[in-house]
């Protein structure tokens, strides 16, 4: 039972573009797929499992058509930005079960050039809770801000501590040639940026970019003969937290449920993790996720992220690519968590390489922490 060590990430590709008005979403997906397959030394004809999200209800079939694939296994689990972290685990499970052998996980988005107001737009959906929410003006930023405000109230967390996260991500981005924002910022810069939804400032928020990425997963057996060092999938878990019929503790995230399970399944503990990719839609997302995963006690996240602990050279470097706060965030960012963790574990990160990186944890958050969200944790290792 379990998926530990049965499959490996063997190819990754992050599309270098952050602004692609001249490309379509499916073109970004195809270009990313080609990049990841080249990285693995495989061809598109080897792919028999297809995974995507961020497309329409039948979008995965359209994607198969666009790539002229007839996969044996299809999965378009759509749980928000974390989807691709979940897909990576689902791919490992499908491979372990013998349902496919080469899984392609792919994402592409032109949300920036399409001018989607994903952070500060609203509008009503048609799921049951929407009628009790949309009329009060929730925005993505506002939903996370509700959590930040409560966290500050309960634990004394400060805007300076949240800003430290943005500053660290920017420092990492300065070492990533493809990152969108590379000029260093200070805590003062974050605090001086305008408030979008209190207590979150503009620089507490991720950007909206275009972009794409792809990940190729295959069996451990097949991985041994491919181009790159296999990065094994060791453990994973998912969860979702919501309004809990009116009783939700807003300062807990789904990571609290998925994190310990994923680590246990991988047979490792927090202190074994050399680096982590923590979905950073907002600074508060990182802080609450680190607490919920158990890297520090609840309420201690503010102190934890200070004094360089989450920066390169620190105890737990996170988001070495610069994250959604500074590198890219094309609507959903989960795939980039898996891509950067894989590059770190292969030792391909140049100036931003974490020394002796052998175990990495990815945690994706989809939806909004303040209303409802999914969490997907993945432990990778070499």
């Amino acid at each position: 039972m379990g998926i530990t060590g049965k499959a490996a990430v063997v190819g990754v590709y992050e599309h270098p573009l952050r602004w692609a008005p001249h490309k379509t979403q499916y073109q970004l997906m195809a270009e990313s797929a080609r990049g990841a397959l080249e990285d693995a030394g495989l061809s598109i004809k080897d792919v028999d499992g297809l995974f995507t999200s961020g497309v329409g209800p039948m979008g995965i079939v359209a994607l198969a058509e666009h790539l002229n694939l007839n996969p044996d296994y299809l999965d378009s689990t759509s749980i928000g930005g974390s989807s691709f972290v979940a897909h990576t685990a689902h791919a490992a499970a499908a491979i372990a079960a013998g349902y496919c052998t080469v899984a392609l996980i792919v994402y592409g988005s032109t949300w920036s050039s399409d001018r989607f107001a994903i952070g500060t737009g609203g509008g009503a959906g048609s799921d049951p809770p929407d009628q009790f929410e949309a009329c009060f003006g929730p925005t993505t930023v506002g939903d996370y801000a509700l959590v930040a405000q409560r966290h500050m109230h309960e634990f004394g967390t400060t805007s300076e501590q949240l800003a430290e996260i943005a500053v660290t991500m920017r420092r990492h981005a300065s070492l990533n040639p493809f990152a969108k924002f590379r000029d260093p910022i200070t805590v003062e810069d974050v605090l001086a940026s305008r408030i979008v939804s209190s207590p979150l400032h503009l620089l507490d928020c991720c950007m909206i970019s275009d972009g794409g990425g792809a990940v190729v997963v295959t069996s451990a057996e097949r991985a041994r003969d491919l181009k790159k060092k296999p990065v094994y999938i060791l453990g994973a878990a998912e969860a979702c937290y919501h309004t809990s019929a009116g009783c939700r503790d807003l300062t807990d995230a789904a990571a609290k449920q998925s994190g310990p399970k994923a680590l246990a399944r991988a047979g490792v503990t927090h202190k074994d993790i050399d680096m982590a990719m923590i979905y950073d839609s907002f600074t508060i997302t990182v802080l609450v996720t680190l607490e919920s995963l158990g890297f520090c006690q609840k309420g201690e996240g503010g102190a934890f992220v200070q004094h360089g602990r989450i920066g390169l050279g620190g105890e737990l470097p996170i988001n070495t690519d610069g994250g959604g706060l500074s590198s890219n965030h094309p609507g959903m960012r989960g795939i980039f968590l898996v891509i950067e963790a894989t590059k770190q574990l292969r030792g391909e990160c140049g100036e931003r390489q974490v020394k002796d990186c052998r175990l990495a944890l990815c945690h994706g958050t989809g939806g909004t922490l303040g209303l409802r969200h999914s969490g997907a944790t993945l432990v990778l290792g070499v």
Partner: protein, 140 residues
């Protein structure tokens, strides 16, 4: 202007499960539900108990009082109905009945809102048949 704003804000899409709740709001009364089987008090309304899926439920009339559990002052929202009314306060209010509901805080300056501030329900009539429950500081 105010009328136009009210028409453009998203109007709750009332369904069979939520109808009694919205009908009460139209009378400016706030109700939550309680399961007769297990005693669970819950929000938002549905046709079954979210603990045990039984349908033996009763409507509980709320005192209308509660306190701010958390809030945010929103300065940016491009959507119609909100962009004309910035900044506004979105909040979770914890009702005396024990459940938390998403709402707006009105009747005071946004910068006066605090967590734990006592509030009471007020109703904003968005159409002749529909009112939404918002909250204002007690006594305002």
């Amino acid at each position: 202007m105010a009328e136009e704003r009210k028409q453009r804000k998203p109007i709750p899409r009332v369904d069979e499960e939520s109808k009694p709740f919205w009908e009460a709001c139209a009378r400016h009364e706030l109700y939550v539900q309680k399961c007769r089987h297990c005693g669970k008090v819950f929000y938002y309304p549905r046709s079954f108990c979210p603990e045990d899926l039984t349908q033996d439920l009763e409507w509980v009339k709320c005192s209308g009082r509660g306190k701010v559990y958390t809030f945010t002052v929103t300065y940016q929202n491009q959507s119609p109905g909100f962009r004309e009314n910035l900044p506004y306060v979105m909040a979770y209010v914890e009702l005396e009945e024990g459940v938390r509901m998403l709402t707006n805080i009105v009747g005071c300056k946004p910068e006066e809102v605090r967590i734990d501030m006592p509030v009471e329900v007020a109703f904003e009539d968005v159409t002749p048949d529909l009112s939404i429950p918002v909250f204002k500081p007690v006594g305002k």
